[in-house]
Amino acid sequence: MHIPDNYLSPQTCAVMGAAMIPVWAVAVKKIKAEVPKEMIPLLGIGAAVSFLLMMFNVPLPGGTTGHAVGGTLLAILLGPWAACISVTVALLIQALMFGDGGILSFGANCFNMAFVLPFVGYYIYKFIKDSVKTDKGEYIGMIAGSYIGINVAAFCAAIEFGIQPLLFKSATGQPLYCPYPLSVTIPAMTIPHLLVAGVVEVLFTVAVFSFVKKVSPGTIYEGAKEKTKAIYGLIIGLICLTPLGLLAAGTAWGEWGTDEIQDVVSGGSALGFVPAGMQNGFSFEALMPDYSVSGLPEAAGYILSAIAGAAILIILFKVIGYLKKDKGESALE
């Protein structure tokens, strides 16, 4: 996932770097507040561990091996803010000393691997762990967190690649940087991560965590007292990102409307017809058709739909949690 230089435009790199500056500032402040004294050696040695964790080759079925990033693992062990700084320093050494990952794209790489990955992974882990308060819940949280974390990071990288041909073209219309649109970069980045890298990340995270927990439970980060509030921050962040969907040229695969289905290409030739069942079938008028609400600009409609979707999901989780608790109490009586 290390983006080399010249795949992203300098402008994109500048934006990503600027986005990381407040994150780093807050991270240093938070770590200072949590561990004021031992902060410096902790950051340096944490970075060394994060660098070395990326060196481990994890066996995969079929005799091949893959390596994990370990972002979620570090976030669970050290806390997300310390993980952010550790991975940043590790990435800087890789870029500056080993030539692995670009210098200009350092900001983008940090955004994906030092910010998105540990934070998404950690807060999913924490959310599930806090709502299902058993050992099983903790492990499910870890599996979901590390798997989703690395995939969201890969997805971010895919978007950064994919918007290049849209935004930066030469006078003759030729793309200057990564030439592939979102429709190519998203599957190219996410499929290998969904199938392989995500699995490696999960295996490594669960195995190392359970070892540390068994051998030295005191060293694991205990987490802030603020409980699951942070999940709301994560959701808000994701909502803000949804208009990115507008950038995609086509409709998402499998989300065609009947007017689009005849243009769908299968096996090299366009479908050219609308399946009869779809033409006269049951037409489901959703509350907000096509994510755009009439009278609103399209982007705002997207955000509104995302807010509604997120709220519905939260309600769903709360109701499930409530019903479960109720059941548990009645069982006690």
């Binding site: 080399p4 230089d5 010249n6 795949y7 435009s9 300098p10 790199c13 004294k37 031992e38 410096i40 050696p41 902790l42 950051l43 340096g44 040695i45 944490g46 970075a47 060394a48 561990v49 660098f51 070395l52 964790l53 060196m55 481990f56 080759n57 994890v58 066996p59 005799g63 091996t65 390596h67 700084i85 320093v89 590790a90 800087l92 050494i93 870029a95 500056l96 000393m97 080993f98 030539g99 670009g102 210098i103 200009l104 030469s170 030729q174 793309p175 200057l176 940087y177 030439p179 592939y180 490594f204 195995a207 190392v208 965590f209 359970s210 070892f211 540390v212 051998v215 030295s216 060293t219």
Partner: protein
């Protein structure tokens, strides 16, 4: 008499000691252990060799090297001129030719592999009709990777981190970077011995080899926490108060002057070809 009997007994070796042993351990997969060992070894070797890299008495100051390397990367990324990218590539190849053969091989290996990878990646785009950008980006990738590797091979890493001070990077961050590089070596050595132990002790089939790997990762983490505590105590004992200053005794040499002139030339070229 009795003593003799005992001696006779001792001479009569038990049967199982006399039979030929024919144990050959079944083969087991351990690619992942070998691969991990190799990647750790290459990292450690890389860091240890850079420590001995001499910049020479009349070498170029690390500050200029770092500054102009960053500048060159930025110019390469911004440039749309094929000629400019080619000139830079030739310039870098000239610098390479002045280096030691061992370094040349190592740098070229990395930059050629990355350029080839980029070229293959961009090949489909060439069939869609933008072959020019495929070649341009491949050329840019080659130049960028080469220039970073030349910097990291010819400059002590402590000088690189020290040079960062001139770019308003906080002292604290430079200290953290230095600690990280030192502890990559220490923890890397530690992990390497554990990997060797795992390999040596796995005779024949070892079903718990996979769990052992997580043990190595976990032990590494616990060890790092202990080391961080020890280091903090050691720092405090030596009077560390949380303030850290990086000192630089900087002298301007003729080599610096020549290097600056070359880079001014590069900027002029960039502007000139940018107009066309």
């Amino acid at each position: 008499m009795r003593l003799n009997d005992n001696r006779m007994d001792a001479l009569n070796m038990p049967e199982w000691l006399l039979t030929d042993e024919n144990y050959s351990p079944p083969n087991d997969r351990d690619t992942f252990v070998n691969k991990s060992i190799l990647s750790f070894l290459s990292i450690l070797a890389r860091i240890k060799t850079q420590d001995s890299s001499e910049t020479g008495k009349y070498g170029i100051s690390a500050i200029f090297k770092v500054a102009f390397t960053f500048m060159l990367i930025l110019l390469l990324s911004l440039s749309r001129s094929f000629v400019f990218v080619m000139i830079i590539n030739v310039y870098l190849i000239v610098i390479l030719s002045l280096m030691k053969a061992e370094d040349i091989v190592k740098i070229l290996k990395v930059s050629l592999v990355m350029s080839l990878f980029t070229f293959i990646l961009l090949l489909p785009a060439a069939f869609w009709g933008n072959s020019s950008s495929t070649i341009l980006i491949t050329g840019k990738v080659f130049a960028t990777i080469t220039v970073v590797n030349i910097l990291s091979r010819t400059t002590k890493w402590t000088s690189i981190t020290g040079a960062l001070k001139k770019f308003f990077v906080p002292d604290l961050f430079i200290l953290v970077l230095d600690i990280t590089i030192k502890y990559i070596v220490m923890l890397g050595d530690f992990a390497l011995s554990m990997l060797y132990a795992l390999k040596l002790r796995s005779v024949g089939k070892n079903k718990s080899k996979y769990t052992a790997l997580s043990g190595i990762g976990g032990t590494l983490f616990i060890k790092s926490k202990e080391m961080a505590e020890d280091m903090y105590i050691a720092m405090e004992c030596r009077g560390f108060t949380g303030e850290y200053h990086v000192y630089n005794n900087f002298k301007f040499t003729i080599a610096d002057f020549g290097y600056i002139m070359i880079n001014v030339g590069i900027i002029v070229l960039f502007v000139y070809f940018g107009r066309i």
